[in-house]
């Protein structure tokens, strides 16, 4: 019932965005983590992942009028765009080709480990502010423990502890989610 309700909600959101591109922001918020997780896993480079993700959403916004609701989640369409963008960006398809079955999996939203990576991005937002800050600075902004300690006015040991607890919390919540999966 929840899945059906979510589908109807998403369909309404898409139709609203097709009429008013200003409503695209909600679709963006709902699907950003999943698209980014898919792209980042493919390219394994933050700069390129951000570029591709941006291009995917730009293309989606530009072509939103062509999207037809056929019961497949909207993210499937986004991941299809992502797969095409990746294929067109790689000069040597043989080296980093997106196989047909991978394209199909992308379009249906079923990709090995993608759920877990998406979940991690979502769970990050549930961490306490100080733990979230440390992980964001450490991984996304590539700051050292010393630099973060200076920014926070705390000792390096305290920052390492925050970092350790944050990763531990993420592990616990990933396990908890797997034990009690959320129905989307």
């Amino acid at each position: 019932m929840t899945a059906i309700a979510n589908g109807i909600d998403e369909q309404l959101l898409v139709e609203a965005a097709q009429l008013d591109p200003g409503r695209f922001a909600e679709l963006y918020e709902n699907n950003f983590n999943r698209v980014y997780a898919y792209v980042a896993h493919r390219v394994r480079d933050r700069d390129e992942a951000e570029d591709v993700t941006a291009e995917v959403f730009h293309q989606a916004l530009a072509n939103l009028g062509k999207f037809e609701w056929r019961g497949v989640p909207f993210v499937g369409w986004l991941l299809g765009i992502a797969a095409n963008v990746l294929a067109s960006r790689w000069r040597h398809p043989s080296e980093r080709e997106v196989p047909a079955e991978a394209m199909e999996r992308a379009e249906t939203g079923v990709e090995d480990g993608m759920e877990r990576r998406t979940l991690l991005l979502q769970l990050l937002e549930t961490l306490p502010a100080d733990q979230r800050y440390v992980l964001a600075r450490r991984f996304a902004d590539q700051r050292s423990v010393r630099e973060i300690a200076q920014e926070l006015g705390r000792s390096e040991g305290a920052v390492k502890q925050l970092q350790f607890r944050a990763v531990q919390t993420l592990r616990a919540r990933v396990r908890g989610t797997h034990d009690h999966p959320v129905v989307h």
């Binding site: 591109p21 200003g22 695209f24 922001a25 963006y28 918020e29 950003f32 980014y36 980042a40 896993h41 394994r44 480079d45 933050r46 700069d47 390129e48 992942a49 951000e50 570029d51 993700t53 941006a54 291009e55 959403f57 730009h58 293309q59 916004l61 530009a62 072509n63 062509k66 960006r89 790689w90 000069r91 040597h92 877990r116 990576r117 991690l120 991005l121 990050l124 992980l135 964001a136 600075r137 450490r138 991984f139 996304a140 902004d141 590539q142 050292s144 423990v145 040991g157 390492k160 502890q161 970092q163 350790f164 990763v167 531990q168 993420l170 592990r171 990933v174």
Partner: protein, 357 residues
């Protein structure tokens, strides 16, 4: 103690993962292996501001190209220090940008041609030093320079009219004054003005006409009252509020005030015209071969429109340099001389120096 050790080991593993984003997970003890896996997934975490900036970018009005479905790739998150210059041309970052090899080749050829052209022009200049010319031009008042009187030259004056179908009628111009508040008229368009002011023409006040009435153009033969076909008020076929066929507030043909009389000279309230565009004259082939140099003096009337008129050679140099000087000065443009806040025609002399180095 064990906890601290795990904390440090996880931190070392994270150091490795951040420094080697493409590498496999480092081997670690079992107690932190799951944590390192989580950290491995976090390696590609988007930058803090990326999501917000992309959202803001998507909410901006789409450019025309995007409206037709041609989405533009975003570079909002790319760090400048991580980007090599000309990535595809130098073979770096291959595939990250669309590239047409023909465009690269064409660009290379054009740039090479430009470099050759620049280098060869420098070489040509060093080989033709004797042809390098330098012209020094000065402008000064004709009143300081003794010039022969132009034979039979009709001087300035003024003119006017108000677009009547008839030519101006015969009569006498009003009295001369240093300034004009109201132009003269034969046919009064406003017979009862609220503030009557005597009509005058500009010229020396001591000049007078023999009494004759009514007001009109002394050179006309028509008796039917008319202000004439000119423009700008006044009487006659000219413009500018005077009487006659000229272009100012004087009387008679030509420029300036007074009767039939010449243009203004610099000084006495008449400012010097200022050059705003003065292309150099060319050296004539004949003079260049003969290594002939000198100064040509031109007498020029700079009109109220800032253009040179009636250019005459006041001191000739010959060998085709006079013509070259006239040709160049004819292209010059000036800020016109001003008198009482109005642009006026003024006669000046211009020296054009031809020198070989």
């Amino acid at each position: 103690m064990t906890t601290l050790s795990s904390i440090d080991r996880l931190d070392h593993a994270i150091d490795f993962l951040v420094a080697h984003p493409q590498a496999a997970l480092p081997p670690v003890e079992d107690d932190i292996s799951e944590l390192v896996e989580i950290a491995g997934e976090l390696r590609y975490l988007p930058r803090t501001e990326f999501k917000l900036r992309l959202r803001a970018e998507l909410q901006e009005p789409a450019p025309a190209s995007q409206a037709h479905g041609a989405a533009q790739p975003s570079r909002l998150a790319r760090r400048e220090d991580a980007e090599p210059i000309l990535p595809t041309l130098l073979g770096l970052g291959g595939g990250a940008y669309p590239l047409q090899r023909s465009s690269v080749a064409l660009s290379f050829v054009l740039h090479a041609a430009a470099v050759v052209l620049i280098a060869s022009s420098g070489f040509w200049l060093t080989q033709h030093r004797q042809q390098l010319t330098h012209q020094v031009t000065t402008i000064f008042s004709a009143s300081d320079y003794a010039l022969p009187v132009a034979p039979g030259k009709a001087g300035g004056g003024g003119g006017g009219g108000d677009g009547d179908k008839l030519a101006a009628s015969k009569g006498t111009p009003p009295r001369f004054a240093r300034e004009q508040l109201t132009p003269p008229a034969v046919v009064l368009r406003n017979p009862e003005p609220k503030l009557p002011v005597e009509a005058t023409v500009i010229g020396p006040p001591q000049l007078t006409f023999s009494p004759q009435s009514p007001t009109g153009d002394p050179l006309s033969a028509l008796l039917t009252p008319s202000n004439g076909a000119g423009s700008g008020g006044g009487i006659g076929s000219g413009s500018g509020g005077g009487v006659g066929s000229g272009h100012d507030a004087g009387v008679g043909p030509g420029w300036g005030g007074g009767i039939g009389g010449g243009v203004y000279r610099v000084g006495g309230g008449v400012s010097e015209p200022r050059i705003i565009y003065d292309p150099d004259p060319e050296f004539s082939e004949e003079a260049r071969k003969a290594k002939y140099q000198g100064v040509v003096v031109l007498s020029v009337i700079v009109g109220p429109d800032g253009r040179p008129h009636d250019i005459r050679v006041a001191r000739s140099l010959g060998m085709g340099l006079d013509e070259k000087a006239i040709e160049a000065v004819n292209k010059w443009r000036f800020v016109p001389s001003m008198k009482d806040g109005r642009p006026v025609p003024v006669e000046v002399n211009i020296e054009v120096h031809f020198r070989l180095y």
